[in-house]
């Protein structure tokens, strides 16, 4: 049906409005002003995030400032016992996600689409393109990368690596003949949501004849014998789970929580404290007589092959105990194939999606006496070729900026040259000004 003249006018008007809004948005997204504002806000965010590391540690800073939409920067004062106490009020800041997301759009729209494509802007376009690659790479590594470490003693072979900070609760159904176990995980991501006071979550699974309730989960905690004055704490067998301040080095946190297991019929099967450093797991016997155990452990990632440490070598600077270099002679064992490799500082082993870096070694002062020599390799799993992106973008951004600045510089010299032919000798210039 044809539109009436009134309808037509309204439609044109709304179309114009939409077009106007789109144009305005396009202009805003591509503007120098937005770029300058985003860079300034990012600089402020980075500055406060850097200062905050002194009090809350790098791990929390990454989460709170850069993997967030909004953050309040708080100032710390010294409380009782030298413990830093955050201020009640703080400075509100836009977090890393919206800022970097907007920056991506700004570079895309302003630096690649709207920019005038002329020979003079070639360098700028290249640089902007490289920065987009870098931002995209940052996003990917932030979301699709697993990182951890593997500790291998000499002559040992290991086919997994352990996360630095993520602790899962592991539920194992023990088989009668010890031949095969079934493992279920209550993942770190779900557990950390229960950190607040009074938070509780029931975990269920069709294969379980019970449900597991977790309460009082703490990222960092200690199991202690209850004291007479601790009357408001939940006590299990004379022990409490004491909630501790998270440590600056997040990998040093020991999590724990109270667990209650109830059969599907509502019958209580047991309760206990599940803690990262507990010597024994919490054991449960279900109504059918099957045994289950529950414990906290750092997240494990399995490798498609194993790494065997043949020898760890440490070389000190002569006469001092400062390491000059240290390296691990390892064998990568995959199927029947064995490959000997040396991993050392600044020379990792790249193997498919995995990269192994020389991180540390032991035994250290904290290890029990008699601990044999071991190496610690940092392990990263990331999409193939992702490791090369920064290098590519570094080269291209450098080329882009160099091209642009050389063009600018030559234009400047040309201008100066013209001016120089007209101007007076160097020695007399100042006298004119002064």
């Amino acid at each position: 049906m044809p539109l009436s003249p009134v309808h037509k006018v309204m439609s044109d008007s709304s179309k114009g409005k939409v077009w106007g809004v789109l144009q305005w948005t396009f202009k805003l997204l591509s503007s120098f002003g937005l770029a300058a504002a985003l860079f300034t806000l990012l600089a402020i965010l980075v500055l406060f995030a850097t200062l905050a590391q002194v009090n809350i540690g790098i791990h929390d800073v990454k989460q709170d400032y850069f993997s967030s939409a909004f953050v309040v920067h708080r100032f710390f004062s010294e409380g009782t016992g030298g413990v830093p106490v955050p201020s009640r009020w703080g400075i509100p800041l836009i977090g890393g996600y919206p800022l970097m997301g907007l920056l991506f759009l700004n570079i895309l729209v302003g630096g690649l689409i709207r920019i005038r494509k002329r020979p003079q802007t070639v360098g700028v376009v290249i640089s902007h393109f490289s920065m987009l690659i870098l931002l995209a790479w940052g996003f990917i590594t932030n979301h699709f990368v697993d990182e951890g470490y593997m500790q291998i003693h000499e002559d040992d072979e290991v086919d997994y690596f352990v996360d630095y900070t993520k602790w899962d609760m592991e539920l194992i159904k023990e088989s009668g003949d010890n031949s095969r176990e079934t493992v279920y995980l209550l993942p770190h991501e779900r557990l950390v949501e229960l950190e607040g006071e009074g938070s509780r979550r029931a975990f269920e699974n069709a294969a379980w004849p019970f449900e597991i309730s977790v309460t009082g989960y703490a990222r960092n905690s200690a199991v202690e014998v209850v004291k007479p004055w601790q009357t408001n704490m939940r006590v299990i067998d004379g022990y409490i789970l004491n909630r501790l301040e998270p440590k600056m080095e997040a990998e040093a946190n020991i999590p724990g929580g109270y667990v209650e297991v109830k059969a599907n019929g509502g019958q209580g099967l047991g309760e206990g404290i599940v803690w990262g450093f507990a010597r024994q797991p919490l054991t449960i016997t279900d109504p059918e007589g099957d045994k289950w155990s529950l414990k906290m452990r750092k997240r494990i990632y399995h490798l498609p092959y194993s790494i065997k440490l043949r020898k760890f070598i440490k070389e000190d600077h002569p006469g001092v105990s400062m390491a000059k270099r240290y390296m691990s002679d390892v064998t990568k064992v995959e199927g029947g194939l064995e490959e000997d490799v040396r991993i050392r500082m600044n020379h990792p082993l790249n193997s498919g999606e995995y990269t192994f870096y020389q991180a540390s070694f032991g035994p250290n002062a904290g290890d029990p006496p008699g601990t044999p020599v071991y190496t610690v390799l940092a392990v990263w799993k990331r999409p193939l070729m992702a490791g090369q992106w920064p290098l590519v973008s570094c080269i291209t951004v450098a080329v882009g900026l160099l091209v642009h600045f050389i063009m600018k510089l030559s234009a400047y010299f040309k201008r100066e040259g013209k001016r120089g032919t007209k101007s007076v000798p160097i020695e007399d210039v100042n006298t004119q000004g002064g």
Binding site: G319, A323, W380
Partner: protein, 669 residues
């Protein structure tokens, strides 16, 4: 034999203390009655004597300078020699001082070398303070005996220091820090002072039934070691074991002391060319005790090396015998180094010290600055012209000296000279000066160079201050992760050039702001200054951005992550972000001429944060070493810059009309 060694190491500090007190009592009071200067040949030979210390082979002069600087806050010292009322001043170099400490120990203990900035620290350890709050104290003053041992200032110093050391450095008061610092220095001095005790004192033994050589006091240690096999043989006779134990008791104590005190640095390259660690005198003695059991011929190498040290240590200081012993030690060391390919750069290092680069560069920079300021005042006269030419020449000369200084350091260390804060200061000063000289010739404006000369002079002063404050060898080897010439040469060098450019932009901005405050209305000149700042900012962006990404790539290959939001990484990123914000705001017309300069000041403050402040935060993987005292200096710098920023902002309002005119003019660029 192991039991003997274990026993030897017991009670050493008791013996050291008693030995010291006895000497201290005799020599505690008073001044330096006379001072015989060291023979020049001896000083030259000792200066270049190779030793292995702090993980590298270096000439003795390097060790002497660092230690004297640490204790005395100067590289040379002045002594008041003679009786009160008729004293004369003698200036001695660090090498001469070290010769005294090692070979004229009683005399050296009278030298007032321990600098104490706050006399409260002196009162705290129960000593009489000098008239001046900041003063230098001698070891004898600190070791003054008291009625009760616990009242001895040396004892109190140790006690207080161990108490204060338990407090975190950042939480200590100035006085507490002084006590800890003084205790460390005094303790280290005592080790140097007693290094050659084994040669001077030897061992006292009376075992004629074992060997005719083993009778007497102050016998050379090497004589005892030659007879270790005979002593062991005698110890297997059960009837003699008790007498032997009594006779060896004193030797045990003396050797225990020497095994602890004679271990500051290696004098002897080992026989095995594949063994990198040189042998300390205590290593020679220990090897002598262990290996000597099988007969003296098995320890001929160790005994030979020990004997050379004994001859030197026991020779009359400054005598021809001393000179010959020193020459023999040096010759033997050099001969041993040759097949090992060591010590090739000792000559270059000595050249580095002989050049006195810091002082000479500073003189050239200040002279250059003064001459160029003189030229400004002289105006268009012929004198003004010559003063300017001379000022530029001094600037170029300073640049040449800086380049030589850096090159020599590169040769000595076999790595780019950007691995610690001290080196980055020199490097940045060089880059700032280089860029300023280039700008001077390209822009034909004598504006940037005078300001840069003054700023560089401040930079060199800062490096000297830092050097004195740390009192450490700035050419020490690097930790494993930094031990990569490729990454030092690329990432660190490039990002440091970015710092230099950022600072230069701030320096030029100062010129602009002060030029406006002092009434400069030359629009052409002001516009030229803005162009310079803009160009330098482009340079800053290029080098900071590439340097930062390269740093990420280095982190990726060493730690497995490109970016970790570590303070040092964030610092570099801040410079990039600030430069990008300024350049984009400028391109969008959101800031104009004045705005660019005010922003350049902020950029300078960010560079100070990134370059210095992140090192004092005490967190993160990157560090040149956390350095206390820097935080206050950075705060002061920021305060000054905030004042300049405020002045610049206010002056912009005052000069509103001219600014508008300039703004209109500059918008047409």
């Amino acid at each position: 034999m192991n039991r003997i060694i274990t026993k030897l190491t017991r009670d050493i500090f008791i013996l050291l203390g008693s030995l010291h007190v006895s000497l201290g009592v005799a020599l505690a009071e008073g001044e330096i009655p006379s001072y015989q200067p060291w023979d020049e040949e001896i000083v030259e030979a000792f200066k270049s004597l190779p030793i292995q210390q702090g993980g590298r082979i270096k000439p003795m002069q390097a060790y002497a300078q660092v230690k004297l600087l640490r204790y005395n806050a100067k590289r040379s010292m002045k002594l008041e020699v003679g009786k009160p009322g008729s004293t004369r001043t003698v200036k001695i170099t660090a090498t001469e001082w070290l010769l005294d400490v090692m070979f004229r120990p009683e005399l050296a203990r009278k030298f007032p070398i321990f600098i104490v900035n706050d006399s409260d620290a002196i009162i705290d350890i129960g000593m009489e303070e000098h008239a001046k709050r900041r003063s230098r104290y001698s070891h004898d003053e600190i070791f003054r005996p008291a009625a009760a041992p616990e009242d001895n200032p040396r004892t109190r110093l140790s006690e207080k220091s161990s108490k204060y050391s338990k407090i975190d450095e950042s939480d200590r008061t100035g006085k507490q820090n002084q006590v800890v610092h003084l205790a460390g220095n005094v303790g280290e001095f005592e080790y140097i002072n007693h290094l050659f005790d084994f040669a001077r004192e030897g061992v006292s033994i009376n075992l004629p039934e074992v060997s005719a050589d083993l009778v007497g006091e102050h016998l050379p240690v090497s004589v005892f070691l030659r007879n270790v096999a005979a002593i062991r043989k005698a110890s297997q006779d059960p009837s003699k074991i008790d007498d032997l134990g009594v006779a060896l008791d004193m030797v045990n104590k003396q050797m225990g002391l020497y095994l602890q005190t004679a271990r500051l640095f290696g004098f002897t390259p080992p026989r095995d060319v594949n063994e990198a660690t040189w042998l300390l005198p205590s290593d020679l003695m220990e090897a002598g005790i262990r290996g000597g059991v099988a007969g003296a011929e098995k320890i001929a190498f160790e005994l030979g090396a020990l004997e050379r040290l004994e001859i030197l240590g026991s020779a009359e200081p400054n005598s021809s015998g001393f000179k010959e012993a020193l020459a023999a030690l040096r010759k033997s060391t050099e001969r041993s180094m040759e097949p090992r390919g060591e010590g090739k750069r000792i000559g270059v290092e000595l050249l580095l010290y002989r050049g006195k680069f810091a002082g000479n560069v500073q003189a050239c920079l200040l002279l250059g600055f003064l001459l160029m300021m003189g030229a400004l005042l002289a105006g268009q006269s012929r004198i003004g012209l010559w003063l300017r030419r001379l000022g530029v020449t001094f600037g170029i000369f300073a640049l040449a000296l800086l380049a030589t200084w850096l090159t020599l350091r590169c040769i000595v260390m076999q790595r780019p000279p950007v691995a610690n804060l001290y080196e980055t200061v020199i490097f940045i000063v060089t880059i700032v000066l280089l860029l300023s000289v280039v700008f001077h010739f390209f822009t034909r404006r004598p504006i940037v160079l005078p300001a840069a000369l003054l700023a560089c002079s401040f930079g060199v002063f800062l490096s000297m201050l830092y050097d004195g404050m740390k009192g450490e060898d700035t050419m020490d080897p690097l930790v494993a992760v930094l031990n990569s010439n490729f990454w030092l040469a690329t990432h660190v060098t490039i990002v440091t050039m970015g710092y230099a450019a950022g600072l230069l932009a701030a320096i030029i901005a100062h010129v602009y702001i002060f030029a406006k405050i002092f009434g400069c209305r030359d629009r052409e000149l002001l516009r030229d200054i803005t162009r310079m700042v803009y160009a330098v900012m482009c340079f800053t962006l290029l080098f900071s951005l590439v340097g930062t990404i390269l740093g990420g790539i280095w982190a990726n290959v060493s730690w497995g992550r490109f970016w970790g939001w570590d303070p040092k990484e964030n610092g570099a990123l801040l410079i990039v972000l600030a430069t990008l914000a300024i350049l984009h705001a400028r391109m969008g017309g959101h800031i104009r001429q004045d705005g660019v300069h005010l922003c350049a000041l902020v950029l300078g403050m960010i560079v100070a944060f990134s370059w210095w402040y992140v090192n004092v935060m005490g967190v993160g993987l990157h560090s040149y070493g956390f350095t206390s005292g820097i935080k206050r200096a950075v705060w002061k710098f920021w305060q000054i810059e905030l004042v300049v920023l405020a002045i610049g902002f206010v002056s912009r309002k005052w000069c509103w009309n001219s600014w508008r005119g300039l703004g209109r003019a500059s918008s047409g660029q």
